[in-house]
């Protein structure tokens, strides 16, 4: 088991290295000289001296691989540099934003689970009826609906017309401000989980031991409740790790629309402002988090499911 963990950790390293290179090169993919763009002001183009001074200050005058290595070294020491725009530490901005994203994601996850598991169970029980069809349609819609549109519809209804909830913003992270973003963010995750719960339960219900339990004369509720659902939940729980991807991806647009100061919002803003150090740092950060969490999910999945522990999963 430890061997497996060790191997998996080793495998991450090339991926992270690649990510660091990608993050770093973000600044250089952009057309135009970053220094020139940043220093551009209403008075006109910046003078060559100003550009040079800026470049030296930001370390942009070195050859690219040197810059990369310097940057990497600093990163490994936890120094992600300073924002081009605000000249404040990137790392601080990122960690603050990430806390906000974490909060929102957690609530979204809860919303998603609370909705999807009962719906999935309902759909499976009422297999092949109108209710089942409705649930499946709902799930399909949940996956197909653009999150920015959903956000607007919710805002339109609850904030503009009904005036029950605030339109956007963090508001100190209170429930009021969290509801609409959480619903929006949790939708696609809920949709996928509903379908999974449904198919998982359907599969569990067709197993032999269920037929045995029924034959024993146990009441339907116990049959379904105790045996089938318990077993059906296993793949769903393990798949919750996948939902991570949905949440993080959805966060980009959702946070921005609702003005929720999370890391998605941060990345969008820093791209608008061409704050390259911020872009580099946040991409790297989110990748590291993503990879680490996936690794943890993988390991716990393998732990819970001994059958694949000894097979090579490639």
């Amino acid at each position: 088991m430890l061997g497996y963990i060790f191997k998996r950790v080793l495998l991450i390293i090339p991926a992270l290295l690649f990510v660091s290179m990608v993050s770093f090169s973000m600044a250089y993919l952009a057309p135009g000289d970053p220094a020139e763009i940043l220093l551009m002001s209403p008075e006109g183009s910046p003078s060559p001296e100003a550009i040079d001074a800026f470049r030296v200050r930001m370390g942009l005058d070195q050859p690219i691989h040197i810059q990369y290595l310097r940057w990497l070294e600093k990163v490994l020491h936890g120094d992600l540099g300073y924002s081009f725009i605000s000249e404040r530490p990137v790392a601080d901005a990122i960690t603050n934003s990430f806390k906000a994203t974490l909060k929102l994601s957690l609530v979204s996850m809860i919303v998603s689970i609370v909705v999807s598991i009962p719906l999935g169970i309902l759909a499976a029980i009422k297999h092949n009826t109108m209710i089942d069809d409705l649930c499946r349609l709902g799930a399909l819609i949940g996956v197909s609906i653009p999150n920015f549109w959903q956000a607007f519809l919710l805002i339109l209804l609850f904030s503009v017309h009904l005036d029950w909830l605030p339109v956007a913003g963090y508001g100190g992270g209170d429930i009021e401000h969290m509801i609409l973003p959480a619903i929006t963010l949790g939708t696609s995750s809920a949709a996928v989980t509903t379908r999974l719960m449904r198919s998982s339960l359907l599969e569990a219900l067709s197993q032999d031991y269920i037929i045995t339990a029924r034959a024993k004369g146990l009441p339907e509720r116990i049959v379904i409740g105790k045996h089938a659902i318990k077993n059906a939940l296993i793949p769903v729980v393990t798949m919750l790790g996948l939902n991570l991807g949905f949440l993080l991806n959805g966060a980009v647009v959702t946070e921005w629309v609702f003005g929720w100061p999370g890391i998605g919002d941060l990345v969008v803003d820093s791209i608008y402002q061409r704050d390259f150090t911020m872009i580099q740092g946040s991409i790297l950060f989110i990748a590291v988090i993503f990879v680490t969490l996936n690794l943890l999910v993988d390991i716990s999945y393998t732990y819970l499911n001994p059958r694949i522990r000894y097979e090579s999963v490639d």
Partner: protein, 276 residues
């Protein structure tokens, strides 16, 4: 094959898709007005007989813009998926069929790309490459190819071990022959399914990125950027963003229906065809 039409999902998905293709192809005939015609006199009109979906802040007919926008969305979807498929199939085949060092390298590359959540990567790429539809498509291809490479690789690994492949080798077939005539036909099913679902996803992602301002630039009518336009007028003229969003959803739904239906059809039949 005719039985496929009986599948409800395929039927719905295919119908909507065909309708979309028709609308896109005959956009000039279908749209009541010129999508880029600016007319300040009629700005922010609610839906009426003259302008069935109303007009936007520049007086342009929203319905016409949506009709022409279908061209953009379908184009982006198809191009992105084609590009991703091409790269994915080539790399996936090398990886899965020939294995060895190439496999390791390619898989590490895939891991690298997958380390960054797709939207962040697409955003970063689109944002830094600069605006424009081409850059948008490149960014999305860079994000999407990994899924196809993996699926192709996995399918090939399974099929490669089957006896009929060994039998073909025993008959004297070369690797290339086996790949083209035996392996490809047998891995088509999963590829078709993910490609179909992928078009839906690509359209969604493209709309999202355009909404944020990366990608298709005004005055090109793209559904996502139309929503962005509508943001400021949410109270006064909500229809500016309601209709484009609806268009996106229906389009993506169509491909999801189709993909789901195809998956149902192709999967159990595949199992039936290889007994034992």
């Amino acid at each position: 094959m005719r039985a496929w039409i009986k599948n409800r999902n395929i039927f719905i998905g295919l119908s909507i898709t065909v309708a979309l293709i028709f609308i896109a192809a005959f956009a000039p005939q279908v749209a009541p007005h010129d999508p880029t015609e600016i007319n300040p006199m009629v700005r922010l009109q609610p839906p009426s007989k003259e302008y069935p979906f109303g007009t936007d802040h520049m007086g342009r007919c929203i319905l016409s813009r949506i009709v022409f926008g279908s061209r953009i969305s379908l184009l982006v979807g198809v191009v992105v998926i084609s590009g991703s498929l091409l790269i994915g199939i080539v790399l996936g085949t090398i990886s899965g069929y020939f294995g060895g060092l190439a496999d390791d390298l390619i898989m590490r590359l895939v891991d690298g790309f997958l380390a960054i959540p797709s939207m962040f990567l697409a955003l970063a790429l689109a944002g830094t490459l600069g605006p424009g539809m081409f850059n948008l498509m490149m960014a999305l291809i860079a994000v999407e190819w990994t899924s196809y490479a993996r699926v192709v690789r996995g399918s090939i690994l399974t099929v490669k071990e089957q006896e009929f492949v060994e039998a073909a080798r025993g008959l004297g077939a070369s690797d290339l022959y086996i790949l083209v005539h035996h392996i490809m036909p047998n891995i088509l099913s999963p590829i078709i399914v993910i490609a179909t679902l992928g078009i839906g996803y690509a359209i969604l992602a493209a709309a999202g990125l355009s909404f944020l301002g990366f990608g298709v630039q005004p005055p090109t009518p793209e559904w996502g950027s139309m929503l962005d336009d509508g943001r400021l007028f949410m109270r006064k003229a909500p229809y500016i963003m309601i209709f484009p969003g609806l268009a996106i959803m229906i389009t993506v739904l169509a491909f999801n229906f189709l993909g789901d239906g195809l998956r149902d059809e192709l999967d159990p039949r595949f199992r039936k065809e290889i007994p034992h």
